[in-house]
């Protein structure tokens, strides 16, 4: 039986498990469907190792249930970044890393044969020149080394540090800004590696409404952004989170839509055959691959820009195009001014008007008013009237309000029973 390894070769292996442990945390061994029990045990042990301190296990009648539990207000940096820092390597990779840093720190460029000799003399290790050459090339592509032609061969030296690193005061400010941005900007894990490089961690900031799990999509996002930068089509596998079924899609990636309220991110794609924009969840996208350049990229991007004011969330609606929703609310102006502020700050461009004393109207026109339902229901207790050009939306919210009344208004006794039982 192979020995357990903490490190992994492919990030995809850990992505799915970590997401499921983090988000749900109620599944037991047998419920991780397609994978074998052994795989589950290994992945579980790895995640327990990466996130010790955040792991909870409960025993249910169905078996041991592992979950990742954390309160985002209590954490200073994203514990899930640990997954990005778990790539496996060979013994030679590690040795060469430190040998190269040590040897090249004197500033003298060296060719591969020279490095080969120096490593053997200095550390007593005989390494194949080809292996050293490959490592030097790899490090050059990462930006750690730079090469220059010396006669017929290439010589390598460490990349020049940025001048701003020499300005201690400025570099300190940058480090503080990195402490913030490593948790708030896209690809925050990169900031975390900059802090690691300095043996620093965030001691200045804390977070509210922080959603850690979405870092797991960053590698996919990197490929998508690279395709966007080069105006290329993208081919990818889209896996339904409900059915688990996969389809292969090709489209033009235009923008990443982000929800600050759930942290969820979506890829907005233009599908030329359907002549439609669509938003697809990043966590459902796998194996993206950039294809050929689209000469009309800017045109489609401009079309998207024109459409954005009518997107409430991520939907571009069905055939009916625009839908209008009007909501009248009772707001006690003397004591509930903050509700009027809510309408203005959360209404995404909809109009807010006073109808008469303590009665306010919100009116918005969007592609898909269906997406507004959760927001409308957040005003439960003060909605006087609702009008919508999409009758189905109106019916749904009316039915929901009735169902809630049945749930809470009429069945207090049942609830008490359930709560106690």
């Amino acid at each position: 039986m192979a020995e357990f390894q903490e490190l992994i070769k492919s990030f995809d292996r850990i992505r799915d498990y970590m997401r499921q442990f983090f988000l749900y945390g109620f599944k037991v061994r047998g419920e991780y469907g397609e994978k074998s029990g052994r795989t589950y045990d290994n992945e579980r042990r790895r995640i327990e190792n990466y996130l010790s301190g955040y792991i909870h296990s409960d025993y249910t009648s169905k078996g041991k249930q592992i979950s990742i539990r954390m309160d985002s207000k209590q954490i200073l940096s994203n514990p899930l970044y640990a997954a990005w820092k778990s790539k496996s390597f060979t013994d030679r990779d590690l040795l060469l890393h430190f040998f190269l840093l040590d040897l090249l720190s004197d500033g003298s460029p060296r060719t591969v044969p020279e490095l080969c000799d120096d490593i053997s003399l200095r550390y007593g290790k005989i390494l194949d020149a080809q292996i050293i050459r490959l490592k030097c090339r790899e490090y050059e592509s990462l930006g750690i080394l730079r090469s220059e032609k010396r006669g017929k061969s290439l010589s390598y030296q460490l990349a020049e540090p940025l001048n701003l690193e020499k300005d201690t005061q400025l570099w300190n400010v940058i480090q503080n800004a990195v402490k913030f941005s490593s948790e708030t900007a896209p690809f925050g894990v990169v900031g975390s590696t900059i802090l690691d490089r300095e043996f620093l961690s965030n001691d200045l900031f804390c977070w509210k409404h922080y959603f850690c799990v979405h870092t797991l999509e960053d590698e996919v996002l990197l490929t998508i952004l690279s395709a966007m930068r080069e105006h290329r089509f993208l081919s990818f596998e889209n896996r339904s989170s409900r059915s688990g079924k996969s389809v292969q899609l090709t489209g033009l990636p235009l923008q990443i839509f982000v929800s600050a309220q759930t942290g969820r991110r979506y890829l907005c794609v233009y599908f030329p055959p359907k002549r439609r924009f669509n938003c697809l969840r990043l966590d459902c996208i796998f194996h993206p691959r950039a294809l050929e350049i689209c000469p009309e990229y800017e045109l489609h991007r401009e079309n998207l820009r024109r459409n954005l004011p009518y997107c409430w969330g991520v939907s571009f609606g069905g055939r009916s195009r625009m839908e209008t929703l009007c909501m009248t609310l009772y707001i006690d102006e003397a004591s509930e001014g903050h509700i009027i502020n809510r309408l203005r700050r959360e209404g995404r461009g909809g109009e807010v008007q006073q109808v008469r004393e303590n009665v306010w109207l919100y009116m918005g026109t969007f592609f898909d008013t269906n997406e507004m339902l959760p927001w409308i229901k957040s005003f439960t207790g003060r909605i006087l009237d609702l009008q919508c050009s999409n009758q189905a939306v109106l019916d749904k919210v009316t039915a929901d309000l009735k169902a809630m009344y049945q749930m809470y208004g009429e069945e207090e006794k049942d609830e008490r029973k359930e709560n106690n039982g």
């Binding site: 013994d91 430190f98 940025l162 941005s181 990169v190 043996f199 982000v258 209404g347 609830e415």
Partner: protein, 336 residues
């Protein structure tokens, strides 16, 4: 369509050089360059940098295994770095520089710097391609009344607070309260809290009066009219982590999630920022979820739960449920 044939620079995030094992080994080599380390020292250093079981792999490999060329025995039970240099910091990678370059267009990142420093940064990074552009992203549900990051007065307040937190100095602040009431106070600034949803910074700290520790305070940065560092000493024994420790956390809110309209997944994602515990109930084909919350977020949690409608049922605690019932009943009276 053909697969891309490209020589363009492609970055990867998943690289061993950023890994915890490399970090732990670097830590050992740098420390042992100055002071020989025992096995226990090494185990301790690895535990601080890497994962739960890493030390049992890394330390034997370094002391008697395939990585032992990096260390040399210094005494009977101690080891020293076999390398010539003390600092093994790698140059910033292209990915790291490219990320920093992208941040230059982030108004929140710019808050940290003076105009002069920003010019210096832009100049230094001008040849580096940005990893992404701000316009690649669209945050569609962020609140519209976020802080004014480009307001010079706000920027000054931000940087003064940051200086106070970094140097652990008390701060005098002039604050405009909710009803426009002006007040001045001395505060021990602990952390700056940021919310992406609100797009706001808040200062978490503890008030000080005549040298005595007072109550925890949360101040909206946008309402701080001015502030400066105080010369008063920090009260003895003050714990700078105080605001994080919620001693009186209320009972968790319990909800039952129906197996319809994808409610489970929506709930789990929506409340992913709360500590929670979820259990499947096979008898009713529903999930029971306990959400632990900060008392100051009670109203916010209440309206978030209401936004899910009848696919979730709030079961308790009683005081929370009472507020739900009131709102739902009032709604019925207004609407039907």
């Amino acid at each position: 369509m053909n697969a891309k044939k490209t020589t363009a620079e492609t970055f990867t995030l998943f690289e061993e050089i950023y890994g915890s094992y490399f970090q732990a080994v670097r830590r050992i080599l740098e420390q042992s360059f100055h002071t020989p380390l025992t096995l226990q020292d090494m185990y301790r250093l690895v535990r601080a940098c890497a994962f739960e079981e890493s030390a049992s792999v890394i330390v034997p490999k370094l002391t008697k295994g395939p990585w032992s060329a990096l260390l040399k025995k210094d005494g009977e039970k101690t080891w020293k770095s076999a390398l010539r240099i003390a600092s093994l910091k790698t140059p910033l990678t292209s990915l790291q520089k490219s990320w920093l370059k992208a941040l230059l267009n982030d108004v929140r990142f710019r808050l940290f710097f003076t105009e002069e420093q920003l010019t210096h940064l832009s100049e230094e990074l001008k040849e580096i391609p940005a990893l992404y552009r701000q316009e690649d992203f669209r945050c569609f549900d962020q609140y519209a009344d976020g802080d004014s990051y480009e307001d010079p007065a706000y920027r000054t307040v931000f940087r003064t607070i940051l200086q106070a937190i970094s140097s652990r100095k008390p701060l005098f602040t002039a604050y405009s309260g909710k009803k426009g009431r002006h007040m001045t106070m001395e505060i021990l600034p602990c952390r700056l809290q940021y919310s992406q949803k609100d797009d706001k910074f808040r200062l978490l700290g503890i008030s000080v009066r005549h040298g005595r520790i007072g109550a925890p305070m949360i101040l909206n940065l946008a309402r701080i009219e001015g502030c400066h560092l105080s010369r008063n000493p920090v009260p003895a024994g003050f714990d700078w982590n105080t605001p994080f420790l919620s001693e009186n956390r209320p009972e968790p809110v319990q909800i039952r999630i129906a197996n319809e309209r994808n409610a489970l997944e929506r709930c789990m994602l929506h409340f992913a920022n709360y500590e929670k515990r979820t259990v499947y109930d096979p008898d009713t084909d529903t999930w029971l979820c306990s959400l632990y919350y900060d008392p100051s977020d009670e109203t916010e949690l209440l309206i978030e739960l209401l936004s899910f409608g009848p696919v979730i049922r709030i079961l308790g605690p009683e005081n929370f449920l009472k507020q739900v019932r009131e709102r739902v009943k009032r709604q019925h009276e207004l609407f039907f």
